[in-house]
Amino acid sequence: MTFHEKQAKLVEQVNGLGDCFNQYAYLISCAAALPPLPEELHTEEHLVKGCQSQVWIHLAARADGTLYLQADSDTLILKGILKLFAGLVDGCTPKEIMDDPWDFLEKTELTVTFPSSRTVGISSIVQKIKTDAAALSSC
């Protein structure tokens, strides 16, 4: 599945959950499925700046050039979002990550009900993933 197709599937899935409480509850359930980030990756280098909460991300490339994302946060809602991001990134190329619009959250009720400070935080996460993808593509 392409990055674009994965996003479309997520939008359908989240919007099918009903009201925004259920959508948030789903995000939190996703948090439980996010694999733990190794302790040595909880560093300043992996910390996302501009987030109200603490968020660490580690984007890496496999031998075939496709990417995978490891992440952690001190809030479950952000961990849930990170789990969805990890699913989107997994197996994609750096080019897809950099070029395709990350708009699945905007197409659900989630962003509408996110406090604006949180929306800024999520943009910072996406920006860091794109920057890290660009760095990996030039390796």
Binding site: C20, F21, Y24, I28, S29, T75, L76, I77
Partner: protein, 408 residues
């Protein structure tokens, strides 16, 4: 006996639906809602006599000025101040404290002098003093808290010295709800010749202030925590102090005469109100204080105490919830942490069920650090909240925690 159910109907916003649920607004320590009479007073101002104050030679300006100055008189009466010259309109508590802090820095603080504040202060009553001390060479001292979240008054007494120039203290903590014993603090400070500034932002609906009886030198509060519009606040200062405070903001409205190279300043209170003041805000504030007086501040405080106790009893039923502090007297707010969960997640989920709470650092990072947490959730009811909302909030919390627990 006031029917608080019908009082609720005075506040149009409280009948809102949020995310498909009836709004339960429990963030009153941050901002209170406005009753119709306050909204009406501001609307009437703009519809009937909007014009700049103190300067125009025409009917509307005269009307606007007279309403603005009547608002000052209303604040003066509300606080029991000696004269309208002691009431300076500002943009809020932060602005009021900054005005005093910068004035002190310029005129009264010298290297080796001391300013005392407390471990429970809002950043607004901490950072201005940090800066004033840093810039003047004075020393900032901080009264520690006891384990219960009360001020350690023994430490305070030990700190006082002839070098103490000012004590800045909150009447009520915005995190713990601690009601501080202002009278003995003021008395002790005055014995060493220090002035006392009271940050009353959180206290105005809980305590009846008579500034002359209290004998504080400065008292600050914001309109948006007493049912008035945002952007208006008050600095009360004894005339003898305000007279000595230099203006820290300069411009129109504060001068008697200006030449190319110097200016002679006008009398109080205008001397400290440079530029166009927020007269619609002041008019709204006067209407709000009038509204609160009509209900009776004692009745308002009693109702808020009743609600706070009901919320405290409810929160204590949750083993995961830890309420911060057990002060001798608490008013207005309950802050809490939830074992294993971020307060952000809790507040965010509660919001989706229509319950408005606040989570974060509450502009009191040193206090939260002292309490051993980075963030806390906070519930702050106002008199227009209903006891019947408590079980609904309990159900919302149960639902929220069950979602969070399932994800653990």
């Amino acid at each position: 006996m006031i029917d608080f159910q019908s009082v609720r109907n005075d506040f149009p916003i409280l009948s809102s639906q949020v995310h498909g649920h009836p709004l339960i607004y429990l963030d009153n320590a941050a901002t209170t809602q406005l009753p119709r009479c306050v909204l009406q007073s501001v609307r009437e101002h703009y519809e009937k006599y909007n014009s700049n104050v103190h300067r125009g030679i025409h009917y509307l300006s005269e009307q606007s000025t007279s309403h603005f100055e009547a608002a000052r008189a209303a604040v003066c009466r509300f606080l029991g101040a000696n004269s309208c010259r002691e009431i300076v309109f500002t943009s809020g508590t932060t602005d009021s404290i900054n005005l005093v802090a910068r004035g002190f820095q310029e005129r009264f603080l010298f290297p080796g002098d001391e300013v005392i504040t407390t471990e429970m202060e809002h950043h607004a009553n901490l950072i201005p003093w940090q800066e004033a001390c840093r810039r003047s060479g004075a020393v900032l001292r901080v009264i520690p808290l006891s384990e219960t979240g009360d001020l350690d008054l023994d430490s305070f007494h030990a700190m006082l010295s002839p070098r103490t120039r000012l004590v800045a203290v909150a009447a009520v903590s915005n995190v713990l709800g601690t009601v501080n014993p202002l009278e003995p603090i003021i008395e002790a400070a005055h014995r060493v010749g220090a002035a006392v500034l009271v940050d009353a932002a959180q206290a105005m609906r809980h305590l009846r202030f008579d500034v002359q009886a209290l004998d504080c030198d400065f008292l600050c509060f914001s309109g948006h925590k007493v049912m008035a519009p945002a952007g208006i606040g008050v600095l009360y200062g004894k005339e003898e102090w305000l007279d000595k405070l230099p203006p820290v903001s300069f411009g129109g409205g504060i001068v008697e005469h200006v030449s190319q190279f110097e200016a002679a300043y006008t009398a109080l209170p205008q001397r400290l109100e440079a530029g166009t003041p927020n007269y619609p805000g002041a008019i709204g504030l006067a209407a709000a204080l009038d509204y609160l007086s009509g209900l009776g501040l004692e009745a308002v405080a009693r109702q808020e105490d009743l609600l706070l106790q009901a919320y405290e009893t409810m929160l204590r039923q949750f083993p995961r919830i830890h309420i911060l502090g057990e002060p001798a007297r608490r008013a207005g707010v309950l802050s809490f942490t939830v074992k294993d969960f971020s307060p952000y997640d809790v507040s965010m989920l509660l919001d989706k069920l229509g319950v408005a709470t606040r989570s974060g650092q509450h502009c009191a990072q040193p206090l939260l650090e002292r309490l051993g947490t980075a963030y806390a959730a906070r519930i702050s009811p106002a008199f227009y909240n209903q006891l019947e909302e408590v079980p609904a909030v309990q159900a919302a919390l149960e639902r929220t925690l069950s979602v969070l627990e399932a994800a653990k």
